[in-house]
């Protein structure tokens, strides 16, 4: 029978993280999933306006990579539709996200753009647009501003296996590589772009093979292992910050829900889905935290309760809020003139 004294101490935490940071990662992954689950309930009650996009199974890649940038230094990222977790790490709040999905007047875009399409440099993240690949040259331009001003800052942009087929991806990463810009490009390979499998997007064996075309290094990691994701991203961020230029990272993961909630996923096999469900990144991280002794089930349950309370309060706050008044639609196209012309039919 082992005495308490004979229990070996917890193994060293990888990547120089503290226990507090490990629990941070858990918090953001769980917050991402729980917030999306709340949104699903609101969607089914027809309270979400428009579509709903899930990142189930991809929380580790979103959270682990965003955690590797340094917001205190002014790093900026641009998320994709499965990067709610990245935004939460950067300081996006459930209240903002709920307001966006329910098209409320006080949402960050005041009801002008949908779901998680929002953000400014001041917030540390810049909202995507729906045209995939376009954020690569834009984030290249942000990295260019860092370089021109001699600032110690890094930009990070996400693309998917689908976005890598676009011309703007190619033009943007090539320009950034030529200019040796402080940019990290993360390719989230989740197996599908809507219904199209990665093998029909690209003939390369691995998405990282494309890096050779731009003369930049690349690295591949298990996207469902949050600590591995953190480590590879951190190295690429450090490399960018030290002036060595662009790195392409491929995170291998799997999109367990459809492209959006309406998608019946008829093209994904049950066997494939079961295999990835068994590799759930949050379950896996819980096992890692508890078997290593870095945390306990009770401590994680406390975090879960804190998140549940936080989300209940956020939903209670946002749900009764009003949408934007129709009259607000015409302002702010340009700084000057302040408002677009109103046609006579507006006056009845």
């Amino acid at each position: 029978m082992a005495s308490p004294n004979s229990v070996s101490p917890p193994p060293a935490i990888p990547a120089g993280l503290s226990v507090e940071q490990l629990l941070d990662l858990y918090y953001y992954m769980r917050l991402t999933r729980s917030l999306e689950e709340r949104l699903v309930a609101l969607y089914r009650q027809a309270k979400v306006v428009g579509g709903l996009f899930r990142s189930l199974g991809q929380e580790a890649d979103a959270v682990g990579s965003a955690y590797a940038i340094d917001q205190d230094k002014g790093d900026i990222l641009s998320p994709l539709i499965r990067n709610l977790g990245s935004m939460l790490v950067c300081g996006a709040t459930p209240v903002e996200v709920l307001r966006q999905y329910m098209a409320k007047a006080e949402s960050p875009t005041h009801g002008r753009d949908l779901n998680i399409h929002y953000g400014t440099p001041q917030q540390g993240f810049i909202g995507q647009i729906s045209h995939l690949g376009d954020m690569v040259p834009v984030m290249g331009g942000i990295a260019l501003s860092f370089k021109m001003r001699g600032e110690d800052r890094v930009a990070l942009v996400y693309v998917g296996d689908g976005a890598m087929s676009t011309g703007t991806f190619h033009e943007g990463i090539n320009f950034a590589a030529v200019q040796r810009l402080p940019l990290v490009v993360i390719a989230e390979n989740n197996g599908y772009a809507f219904s199209t499998p990665t093998a029909k997007q690209s003939a390369v064996k691995h998405l990282t093979d494309k890096a050779a075309a731009y003369g930049i290094p690349s690295v591949r990691a298990d996207g469902n292992d949050v600590l591995a994701v953190y480590e590879v991203t951190r190295r690429a961020v450090d490399r960018a910050r030290s002036g060595e230029g662009v790195t392409l990272i491929e995170l291998e993961t799997y999109r367990r829900k459809g492209h959006a909630e309406h998608d019946d996923q008829s093209y994904q096999s049950a066997e494939e889905m079961e295999r990835w469900e068994a590799d759930d990144p949050i379950d896996r991280y819980i096992r890692q935290l508890t078997t290593s002794g870095w945390s306990t089930p009770a401590a994680l349950a406390d975090i879960d309760r804190r998140i549940a309370d936080e989300l209940a309060a956020a939903v209670a706050l946002v749900e009764p809020e009003a949408g934007p008044g129709a009259g607000t639609a015409l302002s702010g196209v340009c700084l000057d003139p302040p408002e677009a012309e109103r046609e006579w039919y507006d006056r009845g």
Binding site: P108, T109, R112, D113, H117, Y118, G119, T120, P121, I126, G127, I129, S130, H131, D134, V136, P137, V138, M139, G140, G141, I142, A143, L144, S145, F146, M148, G167, T168, E171, G172, N174, F175, V178, Q179, G332, V333, C334, L335, D336, P337, A340
Partner: protein
């Protein structure tokens, strides 16, 4: 006083803005070491350095996208399209990303996209285009088309200082053909959104812009001497936002309007101007609004073909006579 070409005026305007504000920089193809395909940025690399005069790959979407990202951070990029025909390669970036950024996300994007437009230079289908109609339809963009050296300088400076994205279409036919005295010590700023009265008259109005202004002035001269007609010429200078007041004031005065543009007819900017006149000044019209524009074909290369397709002074004269007799 120095004689300043239209091209030199653009150059001076950018130079002055780069001297004034260290946030202003240039990016584009061959703009640095070579000084630009038309030498508009000649000498900029030597003066401002490679950090502020950036030679890019042949990647118009990346040029515009990177300019947008830099503009979000408070820089003031001037992106050059080597020929404005290539702006279509950045159409997505301009219309979906840049034009919407302020409205949808509160992201200011103060940037200029400029380049040589226009025909009459035997440039063929891909070095002669006038793309203004393609962008007039995009809320969030501004479009300027200077005709004079003074406005070439005043509008590039105003465009750099504007808080929103400005498309600056410079006419390559005018580059070295127009010369004006621009005092070196005068700060020339042409307000965006304001038309210019290029010639005063009372019998009919020609509304036009860019190189077509000179054909309109030629036609006005000919109509005065041969027909005794007094023709007013409005140089719009800015197409977006459009100076409706200047157009309507002239329509109320002359009651007959001819709109002339070098771009093709169908879906061209003349249609939009006509609709505005119908809305705001219909009761002042004594004749239908008439337009003269290029024929609806890609612009051909051979001189006889190009001259036939593009509007000539004679076409303006004939249309004006038809209007006057109506």
């Amino acid at each position: 006083m120095p004689e300043v070409t239209y091209l030199e005026a653009i150059r001076q305007g950018m130079w002055e803005e780069m001297e004034r504000d260290e946030n202003v920089f240039i990016l584009g193809e061959d703009v640095g070491a070579y000084g630009g395909a038309f030498k508009v940025t000649d000498g900029f690399l030597e003066r401002f350095g490679a950090q502020r005069v950036i030679d890019t790959p042949i990647s118009e979407a990346a040029i515009v996208g990177a300019a947008a990202g830099a503009a979000h951070m408070g820089l003031r990029p001037i992106a050059e399209m080597q020929f404005i025909d290539f702006i279509s390669c950045a159409y997505d970036m301009l219309t979906n990303y840049v034009a919407t950024a302020r409205y949808r996300a509160g992201l200011p994007t103060p940037m200029v996209v400029r380049g040589p437009s226009g025909g009459y230079v035997r440039g063929g289908p891909f070095h002669s285009q006038n793309p203004e109609a393609a962008f007039l339809h995009t809320p969030g963009l501004k479009i300027v088309c200077p005709a004079t050296a003074r406005d070439a300088k005043g509008l590039i400076k105003a465009a750099v200082r504007d808080e929103d994205p400005v498309l600056y279409f410079e006419h390559k036919y005018l580059y070295r053909r127009i010369k004006e005295d621009l005092p070196a010590d005068e700060e020339i700023l042409t307000p965006i959104g304001k038309a210019r009265l290029a010639r005063e008259g009372h019998d009919l109005t020609i509304v036009t812009w860019s190189a077509m202004v000179f054909k309109a002035l030629e036609a006005a001269e000919q109509l005065a001497s041969e027909d005794g007609l007094s023709v007013e010429v409005i140089d719009l200078r800015t197409l977006l936002p459009m100076d409706d007041q200047a157009i309507m004031a002239s329509v109320r005065k002359t009651n007959r309007v001819l709109i002339a543009h070098e771009d093709t007819r169908t879906g061209g900017v003349a249609g939009e101007i006509t609709a505005r006149i119908n809305n705001d000044a219909f009761e002042f019209l004594d004749a239908p609004v008439k337009r003269v524009a290029a024929h609806d074909v890609p612009l051909p290369y051979a001189p006889a073909l190009e001259d036939f397709v593009l509007p000539q002074t004679d076409d303006l004269v004939a249309a004006a006579r038809w209007l006057a007799a109506y």
